[in-house]
Symmetry: C2
Subunit: 235 residues, 2 copies
């Protein structure tokens, strides 16, 4: 499999999709047509979102077409050289992936070699479930099971920071709650400005870094550039 799983598209204060450009450009080298999945955005915003991403991808010499405009999105996917799944709300995204049956089609295509790029919600759905999303559950989903392209849960936008003077749970506490019900499942907290790159059976971390949570073990911090040992993330 060829995967590029980004924590986020854009750093606070930077222009849209700035930090990941060199990684995405290299990942898509030689690819011509990318199918875009904008379903994490609200329906009224999907056209504009597609335009915005298409503009960035055009700089890599890639033509982006969006599956939300296709009558037969599953059929249209097969004409693509790669698939990109955008961020937004993970529940909106997963609901649409089931409604369109793209979940099965994308999973199959990627397991057969189609390169997959996801950011934020688009990285969440690459894990076994969306149970470690940060998003509000604004719509019902048939199940929280997702694509299971990697055998660990992803928590994008990972940070230890909390809102000063606020009593709501911090991220580590939320992940610990998840692990109390799913103790065998590793969770990767992917910091903003970070990505996981899977290619040729090797997984590499790039950017700001990540923290790996495994039940009964101390969380393990890893830095950009690291090759991820399979044992660490349950592979």
């Amino acid at each position: 499999m060829e995967l590029l799983l980004l924590s986020n598209s854009t750093m606070p204060g930077e222009a849209f999709f700035t930090w990941p450009r060199p990684y995405v450009s290299a990942f898509l080298s030689g690819r011509k047509r990318v199918a875009f999945v904008p379903f994490a955005a609200a329906e009224a915003q999907q056209d504009a979102y597609t335009d915005r991403v298409a503009e960035v991808f055009a700089e890599f010499g890639v033509e982006l077409f969006s599956l939300h405009k296709e009558k037969d999105p599953v059929g249209a996917l097969s004409g693509a050289d790669a698939v990109a799944v955008g961020g937004g709300n993970t529940f909106l995204l997963l609901r649409a992936l089931y409604r369109t049956q793209l979940i099965k089609a994308i999973t199959g295509a990627v397991k057969n070699g189609m390169p997959y790029i996801g950011w934020s919600a688009g990285s969440n759905v690459a894990g076994p479930t969306i149970m470690t999303t940060n998003d509000m559950p604004i719509v019902e989903v048939p199940t929280m099971r997702a694509m299971h392209l990697v055998p660990f849960q992803i928590n994008p936008h990972y940070t230890e920071a909390t809102i000063p003077g606020h009593g709501g749970e911090g991220r580590d506490q939320r992940i610990a709650e998840f692990m109390s019900v799913e103790p065998k499942m590793p969770v990767v907290g992917l910091r903003e400005g970070s990505l996981l790159h899977v290619s040729g059976g090797i997984m590499r971390l790039e950017g700001q870094g990540m923290k790996v949570f495994r039940s009964g073990q101390e969380a393990k911090e890893m830095s950009g550039g690291a090759v991820i040992p399979p044992s660490l993330v349950g592979i």
Copy 2:
């Protein structure tokens, strides 16, 4: 209906369940046995959680017994003078309410006059759905529909604040996402240190205040002590 819906049990830096004591004490005046619902806590923590809450409620002269220790929780509920639903993870709570069939039993009892106290997750489930929870969706639920004791969504621990330098969505953006798919449903952002008290057909806000979100309207700030006009929250 007699409802006391708290944003949170405890302010940051204060001892457990400090700020709401006078309100809860007055609300339970004359009640002897309170059924406690600790299912928002992880299973291993439900005993300790019950003990902690029982200690506080004993100061109000109330005996608290927990439904997680009952073989027949629905039957045990009928022997209570009031019901209290604690905070923790809203998905854990809702899953258990369906598994035990307490969701129907509590809804029925409260509509027939049994006083209901909820905090955090326990307030969330008093709304039509849990779609405006802040919690991580760590387990599957059969549906996100909840008790619908009030006709608006509750967002507990409401704040406009965000984590400095972090790109994740703020609360207002999350609530706006929800309203983009459910435009007819009002959302009440209940600030920490605040509660809604429903009694004799009147709803009153106490404490730090709240913000009411209605689609197509500017969000409306309300202060503690206010009587809530029915039109504002869809009643």
